[in-house]
């Protein structure tokens, strides 16, 4: 049996980092900021969580530090794109590239190793019922984000800011404030995603260990139309793809081919959604 509970568990574990990052991306999207720096923020979270857990012995401090570090890193996007009105895409790509270099550099200077830091005494996150607490947190975050966006005053204002910042500003709502809030929250969520990856899915840090999960989260935001439930379903699709990749490896397929599974699914999903959007008839002008 190919689709069994093992596969599902493995998919849910793969889901968590992507889901957390994608929720952050969705908040930014709703606030009118295209955040493609999720990958870089997540990687900062990975390194910070491992370093903090190693030096303090507490994975919880590692999680906290990861959230703070990634939030601080997200300020690059907030200041650059919102305050200085730079191009969010350029900034996001720069953040992703910088994070790879910065964490590799820190790996060498702090731990004196290259490639991977791995030690049996590095404390990872405990498992409760097979999942880390962060996994449960990520599911709760879907519900909270959905409620926040659809019903809460903050969410309504955020959606308005994202859709028509001028209109929001004329009503005394500062678009910059809400955009900063969304970006910082995405930083926190990406930090948690990184901690989950480095202290939950595995217990180690390796250079560029996010391996495109942040990009997949960006696609999940687009695929899920930046709605928390949509993002959950999209992220679940990628989690399944990743888990299925492992499984196929067990069936003797070469690892290089199976590792490609989530990316192939991403490409397919992008193709299908953009094709669907292109076909949808453009709305006509006012119908009297």
């Amino acid at each position: 049996m190919f689709l069994d509970s093992d596969l599902l568990m493995s998919a849910l574990r793969a889901l968590t980092p992507i889901l957390l990052a994608a929720l952050g991306g969705a908040l930014c999207e709703r606030a009118g900021v295209f955040n493609i720096g999720l990958e870089g923020m997540m990687l900062m979270g990975c390194f910070t969580s491992v370093a903090t857990s190693w030096f303090t012995g507490s994975p919880w401090l590692g999680v906290l530090a990861a959230a703070l570090a990634a939030a601080a890193y997200s300020l690059v996007l907030a200041v650059g794109a919102v305050t200085l009105r730079g191009d969010a895409v350029v900034l996001g790509i720069a953040m992703n590239l910088l994070a790879v270099g910065l964490t590799s550099f820190l790996l060498r200077t702090v731990f004196g190793v290259q490639g991977t830091f791995d030690d049996p005494s590095l404390a990872g996150l405990p498992l409760i019922g097979g999942f880390t607490p962060l996994a449960y947190l990520s599911w709760a975050a879907v519900a909270v984000a959905a409620l926040l966006l659809s019903r809460h005053v903050w969410g309504l204002r955020l959606r308005g800011v994202g859709e028509a910042p001028d209109a929001a500003a004329t009503l005394g709502v500062s678009p910059a404030k809400y955009q900063y809030g969304a970006i910082l929250l995405s930083g926190v969520l990406c930090g948690l995603a990184g901690a989950q990856l480095a202290l939950g899915n595995v217990t180690l840090f390796t250079e560029n260990m996010t391996a495109g999960r942040g990009w997949i989260a960006v696609v999940a935001v687009m695929l899920g139309r930046a709605a928390p439930l949509g993002v959950l379903l999209a992220a679940l699709l990628f989690g399944l793809a990743e888990a299925a990749g492992f499984r196929l490896q067990g069936l003797g397929l070469p690892q290089q081919a199976t590792d490609a599974a989530p990316y192939v699914v991403t490409l397919g999903a992008l193709f299908l959604t953009t094709a669907r959007r292109r076909r949808r008839p453009r709305t006509t002008g006012a119908v009297q």
Binding site: V153, G160, G172
Partner: protein, 516 residues
């Protein structure tokens, strides 16, 4: 004018002066608006209306002068301050959130809450209450993006009422409305003032001011040119105050003498345009009336070759151009004045000379594939003189020209092709009264020289003044067609709103009518 008696005004601006680099936008302007009146603020483009309203609404700070609201002196540093003082503005381009519902738009940033969540039931109730009270019926649950323009405007007004605005400022509110919607808007405004609210109407439309306002303040060149009581004034008096000279308004030009068909369109369909038949003859202006978004732009764009044709046949001087490219059409004898003169009609960053050369580059100006700069300059000087385009030099960028002058440039460039067929959209939108007359005279002269003109305009007075025949487009179809003398505003207005057409006949002149 005698000074007004000492009383509490809803809005009282005294000696407002606002300088921008190079211009004095407002020069010691006084504006007093009484409680419960509809006060029209009029003036041509650049007369200082927008600046004055920006100062009043806290978007600009005046260099001198004072503002009193209900007798209390105020200093606004942002629109929020102005709103807190009981002002509310409906901007010309609406400030709405298309994906949100009517109720969400109305309560945005002033939400009724329960436990930090938006109380949606209370929001809907609030919208219904306000709507019932003021005759602004609109479904609170509808998505704003799905609403027609007239209803969106209601949402804007509801938004202000929800915030407790006592004085509403409406900037060119009827620019986008059908005549029927405009009438309904004025009904709403009258009911608002009857309930003690005050309305400031910023507009350049004389008819509305005469029908809908109590008093008028006219600005010209940043100063108050006249303060008038509407019931004691005439359109001519207001127009003279706006322009500083006597103007002949709403002139209806003598009909032309149509010759052979130049453009023939049969069974024509494109995106949002269905099964249109029309023809335009030499020496004739055919007007296309319709509320924005009923297909007239798309029809003209398709005729100009900018949009693929789904079905039907188009001939120009007998040659089939149904699938011809824009260039081929132009070479066969078509000129085109597009609706959007900034983004489509001209290249704002390019010089006046270059803009005037565009299109002519492939015919008269080109020598062995090159454009001799001397020829381009000479061509520009000729057109600048012939069409009275006011530009410092022909080398300044087109973006430096005022709207009216840019339009003269665009129309001049296209008329200079002497093409047998001219397609012209909204030739005088946003153009001052003085320039309007000039443009109308040019179009009539062009027709009288034996050219065919297809005119699309949202201004009924323009259609009536210029067109020899009028077609009304409604939802992409020709809903009605009228001869010049039948096309009064009421008839056209009804047809534009989709009312079943009264008996309409085929008014097309015979193909070979003798020139008289």
């Amino acid at each position: 004018m005698t000074p007004p008696p000492p009383e509490n005004f809803a809005v009282e601006l005294r000696g407002i002066t606002k300088r921008f680099p190079g211009t004095l936008a407002n020069d010691a302007v006084d504006l007093t608006v009484r409680h419960g009146e509809i006060h029209a603020l009029m003036g041509e483009n650049g007369a200082g209306k927008s600046t004055l309203m920006s100062v009043l609404y806290g978007m600009e700070r005046a260099d001198a002068g004072s503002i009193r609201i209900d007798g209390r002196e105020v200093r606004f540093t942002s629109p929020s301050d102005a709103m807190a003082a009981g002002l509310g503005m409906v901007h010309q381009s609406f400030k709405l959130f298309d994906s949100l519902t009517v109720a969400e738009n109305v309560v945005y940033a002033a939400e009724p809450r329960r436990f930090g969540l938006v109380d949606r039931a209370a929001a809907r109730r609030r919208v219904r209450e306000l709507a019932d009270e003021h005759g602004l019926a609109v479904d609170p649950e509808a998505r704003v993006g799905d609403l027609p323009v007239g209803l969106r405007q209601r949402v804007e007004i509801l938004k202000l009422l929800h915030r407790g605005a006592r004085t509403l400022i409406l900037d060119e509110p009827t620019a986008v409305l059908t005549p029927a919607e405009a009438d309904s808007l004025f009904g709403v405004l009258k009911s608002l003032t009857a309930r003690g609210r005050t309305v400031v109407l910023v507009t350049h439309k004389l008819r509305e001011v005469l029908e809908g306002s109590d008093r008028v303040t006219v600005l010209r060149d940043g100063r108050v040119a006249a303060r008038l009581v509407t019931s004691d004034t005439t359109a001519d008096e207001i127009a003279a105050a706006m322009t500083g000279r006597a103007v002949e308004l709403d002139r209806v030009h003598a009909p032309g003498t149509p010759g052979e068909a130049v453009l023939r369109v049969t069974g024509f369909s494109t995106d949002s345009v269905h099964d249109v038949d029309l023809s335009v003859h030499a020496g004739e202006i055919v007007g296309v009336a319709g509320v924005a978004g009923n297909g007239q732009s798309k029809l003209v764009e398709a005729l100009a070759g900018l949009r693929p044709v789904a079905a039907g046949r188009v001939t120009l001087l007998g040659a089939d151009i149904t699938h011809a490219s824009a260039t081929e059409r132009r070479l066969k004898g078509l000129a085109y004045v597009p609706e959007d003169r900034h983004a489509v009609g001209t290249a704002p960053a390019a010089s006046v000379a270059d803009n005037l050369a565009m299109g002519h580059h492939r015919t008269t100006l080109s020598t062995r594939g090159l454009l001799p700069p001397a020829a381009v300059r000479a061509h520009a000087r000729r057109l600048v003189e012939r069409f009275g385009i006011k530009a410092a030099t022909t080398e300044v960028p087109a973006s430096a020209l005022s709207g009216g002058n840019l339009q003269k440039l665009l129309i001049g460039r296209e008329l200079a092709h002497e093409a047998p067929l001219l397609l012209v959209e909204q030739p005088t939108r946003g153009v001052d009264i003085g320039a309007i007359q000039n443009i109308h005279d040019q179009l009539i002269a062009y027709r009288d020289a034996g050219h065919a003109v297809l005119l699309v305009s949202a201004e009924l007075s323009e259609i009536r003044g210029l067109a020899d025949r009028v077609l009304v487009l409604y939802e992409g179809r020709v809903a009605a067609s009228y001869a010049k003398e039948e096309a009064d505003e009421r008839t056209l207005g009804l047809a534009m709103a989709g009312a079943p057409a009264e008996a309409t006949h085929e008014h097309e002149p015979p193909d070979t009518s003798p020139r008289t």
